[in-house]
Subunit: 349 residues, 3 copies
């Protein structure tokens, strides 16, 4: 367990420290959960009220905030807290013991960089190349001709199929599959006929792929995820999709074949994107929405099919008023003596 | 293959047996599929008509029901049938051969209880503790500092990451991932910056987690699934979520970060729960619904966004009458000579 | 790398070749991406305009189309292209090296056909039978009593649990789980009580199952996927489901327990099918739809709950006109002097 004086954290992070005592910090927690030995933070004024009752050993707060606990002062407490968290994470060497485990099978034609860790029972195929400082957990399977950049992290049970290209500092969480066949068939006389999927997948630098997520290889050409983009667990990326840079794709989203997302796109959970759709830079799609057509840059949408978000919520609100609408209509009909048309099978609209 | 006389089943389950013959039972099946040698059950009166044509060897029925087949009498045939099924399941020792397989890698600092089974190629990390009678299939990966209670069952390819705590009699199905990083980032100048996810996951006693389901570790603190709760396949539980006790979460549901479900909550398939939502005890959410706000205890809802279920279905029904509504409106407009407002760009609502 | 003269492709595929030169072909790509050495195709007239600027080495086109590049003539360029792709795929022997790897654990009672490939660390249980020419990647786990037909392909980390039956030429992509327990419980006094799931799964000939997809075993009887049916990544098939022949089930669909799909059914992405539903032959369900009742053969539907597709889109369009509807109603009310009923709490509809 890491144990560090608050004064050491202050020095390491170059922050002002306040308080009569200099507690030993052994962990970090949110403001409501933090207990003895733990450091926490308060970013939003509405959480300041928790400070009085907190059992935390110390807290990170904005300058000027009155604080009954030993504290560090920072203009952006949340980002400083993130830096503190890194110090209390299990050391990388414990999660990924250094060196190539004796049971790992590394093809003689594979090339491993300096300081690569390969866990038990992992298998690395012919001509694969792993950059310096890569860490592979247990049971990782790397196919032939795969290229992985420096300092990538692959957790247990990840599968990277043949020819996939992975950039620097990419993180693949447990069970993720990269390079599976795209869902491509043509209708033959006797049923669906598989179209060979011979393209590649490229994950650019800094991409993170969630647990049990799936990224299909292209039919030909490339399925690409741009630099810095984060995909959450159980996400599905179809063949020949391009996801731009610095996107955030929440859990259980599915992006169908050949669609193209721009940079900085944000998808809420369980969003579906139809095939051959283009989504502009910075578009935001609320959870459970379905995109069935192109979106311009900066669009903010909701619904299935999705429309502009404020409009979508207004339509939801008006839908909730349908009972009232029918009542008002009936009253009008009564007022002017028109028979209720609902008994009329004709529907001219 | 298990083979047992109906009279033996009757004795073991303490039930009344009827019928001139005492058939040998070798399996169990539903009423429509049951064939020679198989026992079945009839719970609902509408299935009684199948009894005449059934080729089943025996049937479990309520007292007083006329039955042309050898039968066992029980007030609750379904629950008795479940007890019978257990006798015809493949023996646990065949699915999980006893002992630690020679190829399993158990860290010298790990502690295994009495009667633990560990399958081929499984890997158990440092300081992990497995309770008595745990059964691990092939290729299970247990990280450092994991604690697993007695009689837990982990199928092939399960990943349990560092520090996760698992209760007694928990079942993790194949490919499930427990303790993956939460989806936590902050917006930095050059894109999304990962926030270290250093919290834990606690699965309380009796939890069952479906195949390829994912449960993220907390950022700090704990992601918790309460005792007796069942999660189906491909479910996603975000970081810092709390799921209460005895909940049923159907396949492909996703629960976003920090949301809290009470006890006895039931989610249909593909439900999405937004982040920081509180769902009261006993709430029921129909399939494909989306929760974007808190639900009180006992609520029964449907829709995306979800509303009270009867209301939701009424709104669906009224939406289906929109063509009629437009027609009636047009007729009224014609009757009083008001011009069709649809040509008016103004929209005062 | 495969390298072949265009004339050799023409001969192998029995097609007419045109053009002054006979280029060496080393790969294949789509019309917009194709570069030197690559063959491409043009099926639709709207892509013909790309031919002039293409750097492709050759192109497959319909008879009669003017073509500035060396070309092959075919009535169905797309299907010929698929045949060409197969020649440029990584050879099966490279992806699945022949023979049983020294680290594979094959139970002595298992029976392997001729030419079976088993990758590193795969585990094959007692009494399992694998047909001729099956190929298993690394870390495949086959339970006891599993039967697999000839020429099946199982990628890395696939789990096939005890007693599952798999037909000829079935493909299981990485991480797929076949035969996990169905989600079956009964309400007991102290919470949900697990009902043993002792049935089987049968995947008929030619079925393809996507990466990290899950197919639950039946409670009793059989969960069945019909011949030629293709399931995409992350699909969930519940216990006792029957999927017919030659269906296409897109990514992230979920089919709940005991539902029955006919032949040739097509489900778009993220579709949900409730339990005990019957879907007729050839029905088509648009993405994100939810089926809560039976569908007749040939139905084409959309929405959650799903209705006939044209009707669904019309209802969406009319919903988008709700602001106009309210405005028209208000105008009518003003014209005849009826008070706005929205202030009336009574709701007679």
């Amino acid at each position: 367990m890491t144990a560090v004086r608050l004064s050491e954290l202050a020095a390491a992070l170059n922050l002002e420290r306040e308080g009569a005592i200099d507690p030993v910090i052994t962990g970090a927690a949110g403001i409501e959960a933090a207990g003895p030995g733990q450091i926490t933070f308060v970013d939003s004024p509405r959480f300041l009220r928790h400070l009085g009752a907190s059992r935390a050993a110390a807290v990170i707060v904005r300058p000027g905030v009155e604080c009954p606990l030993p504290c560090l002062r920072a203009a952006d407490p949340h980002s400083v807290f993130a830096a503190v968290l890194a110090r209390f994470a299990m050391p990388r060497e414990r999660v990924f013991p250094p060196g190539v485990h004796a049971t790992a099978l590394v093809d003689p034609t594979a090339v491993l960089g300096v300081g690569v860790a390969v866990g038990p029972y992992s298998v690395i195929g012919g001509s694969a190349r792993l950059g310096d400082g890569c860490a592979l957990g247990s049971h990782v399977v790397i196919g032939p001709d795969v290229v992985i950049g420096p300092r990538a992290t692959l957790y247990a049970h990840v599968t990277v199929r043949e020819g996939v290209e992975i950039g620097a500092e990419v993180i693949l969480h447990a069970g993720a599959v990269v390079g599976s066949d795209g869902f491509g068939y043509r209708q033959g006389a006797a049923g669906l006929v598989k179209i060979p999927q011979i393209g590649r997948v490229v994950l650019e630098d800094g991409v993170e792929v969630g647990a049990n997520a799936c990224i299909d290889r292209a039919q030909t050409d490339v399925t690409r995820v741009g630099a810095g983009t984060k995909l959450d667990n159980l996400v599905q990326i179809g063949h020949n999709v391009t996801v731009g840079r610095h996107c955030a794709v929440s859990a259980q989203c599915g992006i169908s074949g050949s669609s193209q997302l721009g940079d900085g796109v944000v998808l809420g959970g369980q969003v579906g994107v139809a095939d051959h759709i283009t989504v502009g830079d910075g578009a935001k799609v609320a959870a459970q929405s379905g995109l069935d057509r192109d979106l311009p840059a900066g669009a903010v949408v909701f619904g299935s099919p999705a429309v502009e978000r404020r409009r979508a919520y207004r339509l939801v609100a008006l839908t909730h008023r349908l009972p009232e609408l029918f009542a008002r209509l009936r009253r009008l009909e009564a007022a002017i003596g028109v028979e209720d048309a609902s008994r009329d099978p004709e529907d001219p609209e």
